[in-house]
């Protein structure tokens, strides 16, 4: 029994996350449908098409696994796993409350960032091995994009880590007497934008842009391997949305309700934000993407780090000055940008 315990925990965790992901898929269908003045799925499972994602998954399971003649067979087969396994491993590092967690890693933040760097490799592997121009273009777009946005993402997290002086996610949450979003508004904004790029979600989905590249790196994939790329994206969403809650929104802290409820309220808040921003912002061009990443997000993250570090070292009670200066700079920068862009 003692040997089986970790496997049972892992199984329970994956089933729990998967059932949530099925709900995500349905909610995204419905939200993007309603925003586009459609109803979304209505037939499958009678009540507002609730069984549509299940039907989709069954369809993927039954599809033929086609491997193109031009493909590099081994790498083509392996690529989805290279992306999928690390994002599932990330689940081990995410705490839901200070009681419900798998393992309190000393370096949880690093663990998550390090494992998410495999996504990029799986996309390049899949895109290159397909032996298709569109997949290769998609893979290179994905490579350029993930690389440029990993930097602001990591630097946005660095500010939070400096405030709490620990890399353990539980430690970071316990340290937040004031939610970090108040102390680190610039970091939070950078994180939220970079997160969407890391997840390859619209408006940053140019690696799989349907109207230009058919489906980018995943053009040649079908059946279960394609579904693994998609599921990997949803697991990544789970991981990064949880990170946003834990790092910036005070994790399981909140009045009256138990911690786990607060965690999922915040978590679904982030999810709703992602679902709406996906359907309300048009897709960016590659050059706009690079401009945003390197000329706006990266300098903002650096400014955030400099302010945070300076105030932590120089001012004994740095919380109020930090919040004031961060918000002042944020509002000033947004005002200036509006003036310039007019």
């Amino acid at each position: 029994m003692a040997i089986a315990r970790p496997f049972l925990i892992a199984l329970a965790l994956v089933i729990f996350v998967l059932s949530n992901i099925v709900f995500f898929m349905w909610a995204e269908f419905k939200i993007s449908g309603r925003v586009a003045d459609r109803l979304g799925p209505m037939e499958t499972g009678r009540f507002h098409g609730w069984a549509q994602p299940l039907a989709d998954i069954l369809k993927f399971l039954n599809k033929e696994d086609i491997i193109p003649a031009n493909a590099d067979k081994l790498i083509f087969r392996v690529a989805p796993f290279v992306g999928f396994i690390p994002v599932v491993m990330v689940l081990a590092a995410i705490p839901y409350t200070n009681k419900i967690f798998v393992r309190d890693f000393d370096i949880a933040v690093f663990f998550v960032i390090a494992l998410s760097s495999f996504t990029f490799v799986s996309m390049v592997m899949g895109g290159w091995a397909s032996g298709n121009k569109y997949s290769l273009l998609g893979a290179f777009r994905a490579a350029g994009m993930l690389l440029s946005y990993e930097l602001p993402l990591g630097l946005a997290i660095a500010g939070v880590v400096m405030l709490s002086a620990t890399l353990s996610l539980i430690g970071i949450v316990q340290h937040q007497t004031v939610w970090n979003i108040v102390l680190q508004p610039i970091g939070f904004l950078v994180f939220m934008v970079a997160m969407q790029a890391e997840l390859q979600r619209s408006p940053f989905d140019l690696a799989v842009a349907e109207s230009e590249l058919v489906a980018g790196y995943s053009v040649e994939y079908s059946g279960m391997r394609y579904a693994m790329f998609q599921l990997g994206e949803f697991f990544g969403l789970w991981a990064l949305a949880s990170m946003a809650v834990l790092l910036f929104l005070g994790g399981w802290h909140g009045p009256y309700l138990p911690g786990i409820v607060w965690f999922f309220i915040k978590f679904y808040g982030i999810f709703l934000f992602l679902a709406f921003s996906r359907v309300s912002v048009p897709r960016v061009r590659p050059d706009q993407l690079m401009d945003l990443g390197w000329k706006i997000l990266l300098p903002s993250a650096l400014v955030n780090i400099v302010i945070t570090a300076t105030l932590i070292v120089l001012v004994p009670h740095y919380q109020l000055p930090l919040a004031i200066s961060e918000f002042a700079i944020l509002i000033g920068a947004l005002y200036l940008m509006r003036r310039v862009l007019k």
Binding site: D72, I75, D106, I107, A114, V124, A143, L147, T166
Partner: protein
């Protein structure tokens, strides 16, 4: 044989055969992806030694960033040969010189390492990795090397930008 030792030998086998594959394959993309596998397995060895931080850094830098860098370098190279490397040689035909260099290096390694008395215990005590202590060492005792490295990297960064901007 303990599980740890078994895992060590299995990982070492994968690492060494992976490294051998990288330098002998003609398909450069296969070499890149095998590099990723090899580096991840080295991270697993750090994990075996309870050096969690080192393992995460190994994955982040070598498996993530270096693989990305090699992929970008490949994007910039113009190859005349077929992508699978058919009909290509993996070396530059200087087998004698490279054999001598490698043999010389091996001799030096043997000369230095074999007479050494290693203080190895059967079971080393497992120390929990302490990131805070590591940070304190880097930023207190070794602050000068750290700063020198960052200045060198900054110089390289500026140099690359200057070289890349030659069109205007």
């Amino acid at each position: 044989m303990s599980g740890q030792l078994l895992a060590f030998w299995a990982l070492s086998f994968v690492i060494l055969s992976g490294a051998l594959y990288i330098v002998t394959t003609k398909n450069i993309m296969h070499a890149v992806f095998m590099h990723l596998l090899t580096m991840s397995m080295i991270a697993a060895i750090y994990g075996l030694l309870h050096a969690d931080f080192m393992a995460a850094m190994q994955v982040l830098i070598y498996a993530g960033a270096v693989t990305a860098m090699v992929v970008f370098a490949l994007m910039l190279t113009k190859s005349q040969s077929r992508p699978d490397g058919a009909g290509m040689a993996v070396d530059n035909q200087q087998r004698g010189a490279s054999f001598l260099t490698a043999a010389g290096f091996l001799a030096v390694v043997i000369y230095v390492l074999v007479p050494q008395k290693w203080a190895v215990k059967e079971t080393a005590p497992i120390v929990k990795s302490d990131v805070a202590a590591m940070g304190a060492i880097i930023f207190k005792s070794y602050i000068l090397p750290f700063e020198i490295i960052s200045v060198i990297l900054l110089a390289a960064l500026i140099g690359v930008i200057v070289l890349a901007r030659k069109e205007d």
